[in-house]
Symmetry: D2
């Protein structure tokens, strides 16, 4: 992780004001490896709150803006080389598209929270805008940043498991088991509000992570779903729980369970993959190991940082900062998305081709696919047909 840093990249942030959660994560993740400075922000639609956050972070007040539009205008007004290189969008979903459009129009690279947009139509439009702008656009499906997820993908890719047959993806949380949104809790409020979140609640917020993780590791795309979604908490307008049967384009079958009412579960994302000759299990809450099984021989526990992991997965090695036994966590995985985005940006700034391993971050295509997944799950849940196919992205 010690690539030469040509110059420090300048980061801006949209969203992430006081009481936000994910904004701080983006900031710590982006800054973890050095070579990135947070220089500008439009942290809140409240100018007062935006300024407060800017002060907390020690930013130049001139670069703390009251809106994304002001940020774009203000930064463009600065000399080239002093402007933000990229902006991270960490607002609720309904704001992503317009913000991304403005940034791309100004030639500013974008890192965006998931789900990518309010609906699939916006996602298709955004994909075109990214292509036209020629900018880097990265989506923070951060869980694929974990080294052991990369090892899992590489073991599948290398044929270790044979053809993948069965996939079980889960993302269970319990924090919305009660009507928390009616207590005024901000995180709960927007996630359960269809005007801010879009067509889905838990399916969009966490189901897309599970689906993305399954696709990343197996290298197969979900083609059809049979879904049952539920809003268990009274008067909740969006789903807080979902069960989905999956079919993949490579012949795998699967189940996906997402829940935000699974009392006592914290951030229980997990994946199991079974192929003809082997199996893999990974749990986000114990992310430094990967379990592997084979037709014969003892079960294996691979551990991040070991030489034999590096030998099988250069991507895992690249995403590793500490020796085995020294736990890396959520921020480091998140930072691995940023590290690859930033290495890609630095290569572009140098006019060079990025290291192919640096291109290993979620893109606008993944974002569009996620939106198609959300809409297919919601449609399936309303349908009397067994299977609902995802349109081609």
């Amino acid at each position: 992780m010690a690539a030469a840093l040509d110059r420090s990249l300048k980061m801006g942030m949209a969203g992430g004001g006081p009481r936000a959660f994910i904004g701080d994560v983006h900031r710590r993740a982006a800054l973890l490896d050095g070579g990135v400075e947070l220089v500008a922000g439009a942290f809140s639609s409240s100018p007062r709150k935006s300024r407060a956050k800017g002060r907390e972070l020690g930013l130049d007040p001139a670069r703390v803006y009251a809106s994304l539009e002001a940020l774009v205008a203000g930064e463009l007004a600065r000399p080239a080389g002093e402007r933000v290189d990229f902006v991270s969008i960490v607002t609720p979903n309904h704001l992503h598209f317009a913000m991304a459009r403005s940034l791309l129009a100004a030639g500013i690279h974008v890192v965006c929270e998931k789900p990518m947009t309010f609906d699939a139509a916006e996602a298709r439009r955004l994909r075109k805008l990214v292509a036209q702008a020629g900018c880097v656009f990265a989506l923070t499906h951060n869980y694929t940043g974990y080294p052991m997820v990369k090892l899992a993908r590489d073991l599948v890719r290398s044929g270790e498991l044979g053809r993948v047959r069965k996939v079980v993806a889960e993302y269970h949380q319990g924090w919305l088991a009660t009507p928390l949104e009616r207590t005024g809790m901000k995180q709960a409020r927007w996630r359960t509000d269809p005007r801010q979140s879009g067509a889905a609640g838990s399916v969009g917020d966490i189901g897309t992570h599970a689906a993305n993780l399954a696709e990343y590791v197996t290298g197969q795309r979900i083609t059809a779903v049979a879904a049952d979604i539920n809003a268990f908490v009274t008067r909740r307008k969006l789903d807080d729980d979902a069960g989905v049967l999956l079919r993949f384009d490579g012949g795998a079958r699967g189940l996906l369970s997402a829940s935000q009412v699974a009392v006592g579960e914290e951030n229980g994302l997990s994946l199991r993959v079974y192929g003809e000759r082997g199996g893999l299990r990974w749990r986000q809450e114990a992310p430094n190991t990967l379990q592997a099984t084979s037709l014969d021989g003892p079960q294996q526990t691979w551990s991040r940082g070991q030489d034999h992991v590096a030998a099988r997965s250069p991507a895992a090695a690249r995403a590793t900062r500490l020796p085995s036994g020294h736990p890396e966590g959520f921020i480091e995985a998140f930072a691995n998305v940023y590290a690859n985005v930033c290495d890609t940006l630095r290569a572009r700034l140098r006019g060079a081709d990025p290291d192919p391993l640096a291109l290993d971050y979620p893109t606008v295509d993944d974002g569009l696919h996620g939106m198609l997944f959300i809409e297919a799950v919601v449609a399936s849940a309303r349908s009397r047909e067994k299977w609902t196919r995802l349109p081609r992205s």
Copy 2:
């Protein structure tokens, strides 16, 4: 577990010849607590094999029979009081019904392996025969014999979790990941043969256990399924994998995954139940503990044999032979089914009412429900309709 034993119960066995697996388990389970003798058997359709097994077990050769019919005739010919009290049927599925019918007709109590019959029609007929005969008929859904499963049920019953919302039941094995049935391996052969197993493979063999476990713990019955079943191994005639969405009569929703091609999984039956106020997790491979969660407070691990377990679940205490920390396993759980069946039989022999806790074993109703589940899953997998309802049992 030290109830006075009025007299030793006499056990017979149908099936369980050389190379069989489950017959030995039934015998050890039945005999574990004393007060039961194995006195007769029709261990194989091959008279030679049946005799060989009888010799191995030290049985009186006169009571080792070449067929179930011969066993019934031979035992009825003995003086009352010397006959078998009950017979355990441990053959492949297609033989269960006829054998049970013969036994019931002779007034012999029956313990039967699952799935109960070849199809649901036979199951309905069997239910009538049991009612007519007035005999005890028990089905070895042995996993509900585990004390911590009984604790789980009692915690749900007592309202600890509030209304149950979500259920995830899994049963993953890997032993059929290759075409083992084509190597001549007996266990694999009959399980993958529709003429012996019936309409389903993995769904019948292990899916019914998972479904039964979910129903036992939640106290809710599955009412509808949306299923995808697969035969991943080439030329296999029955499913070796299934994914099923579940709806329950008490409002719970769920997922059930059963697989016999999950490479590296051994006997991975597990259940998670989430209610309004709490959650439970149990894994068959670590059966002596139960994880419990609540809306607040640390996660709890309840451990078999502790006083606080007994206080919450007399059924768990009754099913416990050893202090906590002294692992009990598969045979003990199996023995708990037998212990309750035998206590019920002893009470009947005494003309007394059995302890209500002794009636806690799976019955012909559970067996019929299991057959309806199998047929609904198979029908759903073929249907274009999202949901397939189970008929009322």
Copy 3:
């Protein structure tokens, strides 16, 4: 486990009356595999209690005795071939020697609870008596009956780990954290009474198991100890906790921790062994797996019942009744001691040499070594010298 049973072995029991714990375990263990009948007992020094236990077990009242001496006399008075073949001694420690002496004098084989005797002097005398009598004498260090412990030993023996360097043996329980002996609880009372237990409390009751396990797996004998023993509960007369540094005759060094005041621990026996090239970890509370590590490569989890376990350890395979994933527990491990003892007895009754694998049960030599360990630990705890050597057994 399906050896032909020439004739049923006849078992007697000394001790194990009402409210006893380990007597029932011995009975279930001895009977688990068939081919053994419990026919006689002197269950209690109270004739009334002995009779009550005999009735509970359905024994012939004529063979329920008021004392061990009466049992010996009564059985010898029976025709050869109808007498007990062996007697299991399951009383408090102070009675073991005299009982074993009587049985051996009568030519009756003995299975004896540990620690073997009241003190090392008795143990030396007993060793001579066993040699003179030519009887089988087995000590129930039952934990070495677990298949995965046998696999561990066989991996060490085969040189998989290289020379063993470091051993960490623990046995932590919490049940004596309060003065339970003053509540009248029988199990606590005799274990904390120096007149019944001998020189040590926890060191004798559980420390000897941990020491025996370490020696069994490493194949090295403990030669010297540096010990600190404690009686944390007020007015307790024997140790309830111990920390011991160990030196072994093969050059290994180790630590042994035994405690009966480790609140919340149930039956926490565990062993870790580190050699030049590999390591092993085993926990009694999860006995069906063994963790193995090597200088490179992922950590491995070996699982009882797998083919690759059988290939490395015929002793583990022989001690296995169920397929992997079907948990075996404490009773099965205990039964493995009995199975080997009984196979040895059957071979002797046939005039044949026993299968060498059948000789894998703890003997009077192990018992003597255990007593020397106890006395060395107690002496060390009182000594100002760093190291106390164990005398040669």
Copy 4:
């Protein structure tokens, strides 16, 4: 963690050149929360290597020095307010004292790696120098930075466990199981060289962490040791393994095992504490949870980030950046030491009293105690006396 940052603190570093491990950890940890800038360094005794590291980190070349003395001189030559506020010493042990002395003499605050000095004599002198200088001196016993360690301490402090009786501290690694120092591997070389490490190898490198952890959580100081230390690898000059019996000033007894030849162990630091009414278990490799037991009731798993953790331990809450289920790891724990040091420094710069919770970092007193521990263990290992007392610090 969002305290107002008056001004950014300026950090310097001594050591941490190319191929170093812990220097990068210090830098990431110090910078994780914002409000700290790395501005100066003497990264290596090789001026070339020091400059290379400075370039990699994007430092002003004028503030990249060839020695600590040059750093002190160079920084003192800068205007007040532009100098380094503190310097982190991350060199091998033998250099700590002289560097710390120079910094303190210049009024520069110090963060220092452990073990604190080359020997206890230096440690006593350093303690005086710290007192005279009036500077902050912090030692990176980083493992006490983990929130769940702070919860453990606070549960003990609050009397939850009653009087602590028994402590088991372990720190097992396997990386030195082979003569790695003879391959030229830098980390191995200096750790096994008595001229750089001092009197002890594994005891100083990791044993001191385990001892510090035990003392931090129990609130008791180790007063005497009985030790056996070993150098298992041929020709190794310092211990690579140790077993130690412990006595504490509050009456607790304990065992400490440290090993760097425990093949397959990665960074296996763990602690178990048993008191009269409860027990605690914590493992560094799964640092986000703490197991707690009581005389009755289920075992509990406390999880970092939960409200009930915060309620019992404000120190744990303060040391928490992410919600439960979002793993925090080694860097975050390390950062918690820095966060408290920096908050203390900021308070001093403002002329205010620091938050008492900010004073929760290891001090020169802990460092001296650690050196006394090392020397006592080494002396005990050579002694024929059972117990070696630690001198009063």
